[in-house]
């Protein structure tokens, strides 16, 4: 089983220094990801889902950020302990990233071709012609017409959907083992989103990659992943197979989140369900369940100690008063 594990994250913690004090953005996240597995990481703004994954690849600005603990084992190597040089050999090569905003992730001054082949030339022993051939092949795969012409152009000549295709193609240049996609379709229109999701799904299966899909949109994650991690206030509050998360959510936050989504396939009865209150302030987070102020199942203990992430069958959840299975 052990060599089926691609990535093992152990107790990663990240803080940010601000004038008002420390912001506890990621508070001990641990999980494992198998080879060829697709997981979703969901949570709302401030849940730490992005910072956690940027921290794993040491991509947060330090300072003000600081990774204060944990290890990230990628094929057995701890990414947090590698030298910058060793890390660079993995990042952008075996692990690649797609960011949310296709408008700002490309350098406006450089030709698409330069940006496309920069990574692979750095990491693999390939000639410029070979790199270019791979870029053209990938442009065909992601549905960019006239690849040669596009390679010679600049980002501003492309629409948002087109740029996100370029980002996907770029992320696949080195045949990575792991693709981390952070809200890859949030800035796109729904018809373009559908195209891009379909594309990521197909390419993942063909190339045999693992996928971490970070999103606030449970609908997007539902069709794309096998397992889901729910984050709140820098903690994992629940993890389970995608089917189980939707069929039998255990944590009150997960339950609330699923109920809050307006669903296009259902009729509404009464008011829109909403979770009362607002997400917690991450300054000086007390040792307590971060969700208790908004929770209708809370009791005294919830205010005194963060519930441990207990394993339960194939899932995990951190709650003293979970919903029944």
């Amino acid at each position: 089983m052990a060599n089926n594990i691609l990535l093992q994250v152990n107790d990663i913690r990240t803080v940010f220094k601000t004038d008002d004090g420390l912001i506890y953005a990621v508070n001990g996240v641990s999980y494992t990801l198998g080879r060829n597995e697709a997981i979703g990481v969901v949570g709302e703004s401030g849940s730490g889902k992005s910072v956690c994954h940027l921290s794993m690849l040491r991509l947060i600005p330090q300072p003000p950020g600081k990774i204060v603990g944990g290890e990230v084992l990628f094929e057995g190597k701890n990414l947090l302990a590698l030298s910058s040089e060793e890390l660079r050999a993995i990042r952008g090569n075996d692990i690649t990233f797609i960011f949310q905003d296709p408008m700002t992730s490309l350098n406006p001054f450089l030709k698409i071709e330069t940006q496309m082949i920069e990574g692979i030339m750095l990491h693999k022993k390939v000639s410029r012609d070979e790199a270019r051939a791979r870029a053209i092949e990938l442009f065909h795969r992601v549905g960019i017409s006239e690849p040669e012409k596009r390679l010679a152009g600049y980002p501003h000549q492309m629409s948002g959907g087109m740029r996100q295709r370029v980002m996907i193609a770029m992320a696949l240049m080195t045949k990575p083992k792991l693709l981390i996609a952070d809200e890859p379709t949030t800035a796109l229109d729904v018809t373009i989103q559908a195209q891009i999701l379909e594309l990521i799904n197909t390419l993942r299966k063909e190339e045999g990659m693992s996928l971490i899909l970070i999103s606030h949109n449970l609908g997007v994650v539902a069709g794309m992943t096998e397992r889901i991690i729910v984050m709140y206030a820098g903690y994992i509050v629940e993890e389970n197979t995608t089917d189980e998360i939707f069929a039998h959510p255990r944590h009150p936050y997960t339950v609330g989140l699923i109920r809050s989504i307006p669903k296009i396939h259902e009729k509404r009865e009464g008011k829109f369900y909403s979770i009362p209150g607002t997400p917690p302030n991450l300054l000086n987070l007390p040792d307590a369940c971060p969700f208790y102020p908004r929770c209708d199942r809370r009791s005294d203990i919830c205010t005194k100690k963060m519930p441990p992430l207990a394993t339960n069958g194939q899932g995990r959840f951190a709650c003293y008063h979970p919903y029944e299975e």
Binding site: E44, N217, G219, K271
Partner: protein, 338 residues
């Protein structure tokens, strides 16, 4: 049902000037839109970015001057009014914006923001409210939108996105408007907060008999709050009708594709479902389009679509569509068979 707004063949074109040697190009943001807005209803305008839905809302209250067309509000032609008269009418229609971070002046207190419309109308001599009365009204408005009246002296940066949107709503309500134009009011909010704001908008609607023009790209939200829905593509309304018939019995291939592309938060359904994947991107609204604006991405296109732009016509009572092949589309099943 009383008609509040009656918009006829509204056009808003922007002229794009490149260098002096180039011929200026025309961007047709709103390109011949006609509809009525009835008292007490929620009419949603949906479409993808660049389809002209926001420009439509801004143009119908003359935040942009229309290029062509007519805008009637309660039987009065808004285009015949001079600027001063128009400002007075604007108390009847207010706007809520998408970005709660950009739409509130960071240097003004919450109290001043909500009081501003009242102060302006007082300065016109149209409201005789004392200072104390304005303050009372502001407190009452804050309470009405679910904020503590004690917040009057605080600044916008002290509030979360959802709270800021409440402040924007309080400001929009200050002059007792009849119509509120909501431009993507919940798009920037997290899902758990989004529903709080939607509930508030619905409560206010039934309590104050408000009429909403609701602009959104989120078809799931729109389904649940609208009486009627208008679908826009490239500056035109391509389909309009009762929300229920738009969602269950759509006549336009674009509407069908949009609906099939919304991800469903249910893994079992989502895996089974077939999406209609449209080819390509939304085309640019710059320049003239020959034939149907949707023809390049349409999966039901026939030869007539290349030549003739289909007009928006009422095919069944209250259900308008602009498509030559609407009957084929109506029978077209997502799964790919008829």
């Amino acid at each position: 049902m009383r008609t509040l707004f009656d918009v006829k063949n509204l056009q808003k074109h922007f002229v794009l000037r490149g260098s002096v040697f180039e011929k200026p190009q025309v961007l047709r943001a709103v390109d011949g839109v006609s509809f009525s807005l009835y008292e007490g209803e929620t009419l949603s305008v949906v479409g993808e970015s660049g389809c002209g839905k926001s420009t439509l809302a801004r143009t119908m209250i003359r935040l942009h001057e229309p290029t062509n067309g007519e805008i009637w509000f309660e039987g009065e032609n808004l285009l015949s009014l001079n600027y001063r008269e128009l400002r007075l009418r604007r108390r009847n229609f207010q706007m809520i914006f998408q970005d709660p971070y950009a739409s509130l002046n960071p240097r003004m207190t919450v109290g001043a923001i909500v009081a501003e419309p009242l102060e302006i109308f007082k300065n016109y001599g149209l409201l005789s409210l004392s200072r104390g009365e304005i303050q009372d009204r502001v407190r009452e408005l804050l309470k009405r939108v679910g904020l503590s009246p004690a917040f009057v002296n605080r600044y916008p940066h002290e509030f979360s996105g959802g709270q800021r949107q409440r402040i924007g709503i309080a400001r929009a309500l200050a002059l007792n408007p009849k119509v509120i134009l909501c431009d993507e009011p919940v798009s920037a909010l997290d899902v758990s907060i989004q529903s709080q704001i939607l509930n508030l908008l619905e409560e206010l609607q039934s309590e104050l008999k408000l009429t909403y023009l609701f602009i959104s790209h989120d078809l799931a939200v729109v389904k649940h709050i609208s009486d009627r829905v208008a679908v826009m593509y490239l500056g035109k309304i391509v389909e309009m009708g009762e929300a229920n018939s738009i969602y269950t019995d759509s006549f336009h291939p674009y509407t069908k594709a949009l609906l099939s592309d919304v991800p469903i938060p249910d893994p079992v359904l989502e895996r089974k479902r077939k999406r209609i994947l449209l080819r390509g991107d939304v085309p640019s609204p710059v320049g003239e389009v020959k034939g149907c604006p949707f023809k390049d991405r349409c999966y039901l296109k026939t030869s007539i679509c290349e030549e003739v732009a289909p007009p928006l016509e009422e095919k069944e009572v209250g259900h308008f569509v602009a498509c030559h092949n609407w009957e084929t589309c109506r029978k077209y099943n997502h799964e790919g068979h008829f």
